[in-house]
Symmetry: C2
Subunit: 331 residues, 2 copies
Amino acid sequence: MKIEEIGEFGLIGRIAAQFGGSVPAGWEGIGDDCAVIPWREGESLLVTTDLLVEGVHFLRDRISARELGAKALAVNLSDVAAMGGRPTATFLSLGLPAGAVGVEWCDAFFEGYRSFGIPLLGGDTTSSTTGIVINITVLGRAENRRIKRRSTARPGDRIAVTGPLGDSAAGLRVLLNALPPSPDTDELIRRHHRPRPHLAEGEWLGREPDVHALMDVSDGVASDLRHILRASAVGAAIDLPQIPVSALLQRTAAEQGWDARELALTGGEDYVLLLTVDPAGAEGVQRRFEAEFGRPLHWIGRCTDTGEPEIVYLDANGATCRNDYRGFNHF
Amino acid sequence: MKIEEIGEFGLIGRIAAQFGGSVPAGWEGIGDDCAVIPWREGESLLVTTDLLVEGVHFLRDRISARELGAKALAVNLSDVAAMGGRPTATFLSLGLPAGAVGVEWCDAFFEGYRSFGIPLLGGDTTSSTTGIVINITVLGRAENRRIKRRSTARPGDRIAVTGPLGDSAAGLRVLLNALPPSPDTDELIRRHHRPRPHLAEGEWLGREPDVHALMDVSDGVASDLRHILRASAVGAAIDLPQIPVSALLQRTAAEQGWDARELALTGGEDYVLLLTVDPAGAEGVQRRFEAEFGRPLHWIGRCTDTGEPEIVYLDANGATCRNDYRGFNHF
């Protein structure tokens, strides 16, 4: 059977089923943004790992070495933020094709990597047969009572994101379509190449008891939200007019004839946080978030008690749309 | 400047220099088989990571999926053994080219991976533009007083390995030279594809106070021993006639006109342990090792106080050989 037939998440499910029995009691393995391992009294270690392959995750001749070093780490740091934790150590494996890049490229890569100020404690370097290969593992820590998971959304929860969606996907489309340079297209490419992991936001949300479920947006809300729904056994209704899209993306989409909302829901690589909040506490969380970060939480819908992990999309009149949005699947 | 000009270890040194200042006090980063992070009272967390790339570390059409799953994990477990620790959790990133392998291949890969009984707690799956890419991170633990490092060899220490050298390199040569199948060549390939990490040996050696320095042999003793010498600021004299070579390798080398000793010293991927032992305690360690494991430690030389991290090779008469052996360098 081909892997394409079961898909990325089918493969992960198959792996999780084979290894589920071997996870020690009190440890949490496959199924969330990080694994959770008991650490000191009242505190846990968080662990996440991500693999980036040239030609799949980045184009070597379009992203600078400095941006690549920063982005490769950013996508991992985002996973720690998505549990309400704080990153403490990183490990890097780097596969470099013979003659492809020089020492200066490596120095710039590490300058980007260092920009977050998180220590690098080890790794591996090797040659590669073709493309550049980057694997990063990040360790983080969090107080147990502040760890947020995908499995804790409840029917009635309000759903929010911590920033606008779709700019990164639009930047990738600018690159793939080779659009001519302009201040707007340059800025979209910049947003694709320099995502900011929402570390401060994640740690802050971890301290809010009314925040129930939390994860980061890497494959697009349409795909990522399903993980929360499946893990929590709830459904969701998303208000399409509420999907936050930057003025930059709206303008570019109008010019290019793109569907900005589709990019926002399915494009991925936004690395904002996706959360569900107790409806009774939503207003307070919103007010405190805005006071802390100087910008709003974007409310995009609510969890429903259908029991099915399905998303219903509603238009401005609250009517169900026939559109179905699908996020990124690697196989 | 080309990376080939500074080499794999030049690159690692450059990275370590850039990140050295950011490592928290009491933590140990780049420079040993694992990073060491304080854990509970008197105990530390060990972390290691390794990247395997198709065409560099393995040939997909020659190694079975089951063997590959086991070997990819074995080389990481060996790093935990090399610190005197015990592995507790693993994380796997897997990049698979579209259409290259099926679900059955994955199932066999994970059957091999599971064979060590260490839990898989997370990872990443992605497509790959060309070859199969595997990155594994292993967490282990050890009592602080039992952790063995590369930096603790002393002049006068006796040097030993926990098993014969060169079989794995000979197996690779059988594959690359496409030698005809025979019981001997099949067995050498098997030793290349199914290394056994010396986990029990590593944990046992951790409990022996007279064992000073410890590491695993991945690039060949000629290269790996230099890491101990540099970290400990000692030299070494190696008795060439004492290098342990299996009867199988001796026989095959004689038939093929290979230099068995060169394969043993420079071939790598043996994944036995390399250690230095206080000379006053060496006999006791040897006796207890043999009682525990039913086979000898192989004494191959001693540490010297030259101060230079250089290896002198001695022949049967104790005379210096002009041979210089170099281990594997990835760039």
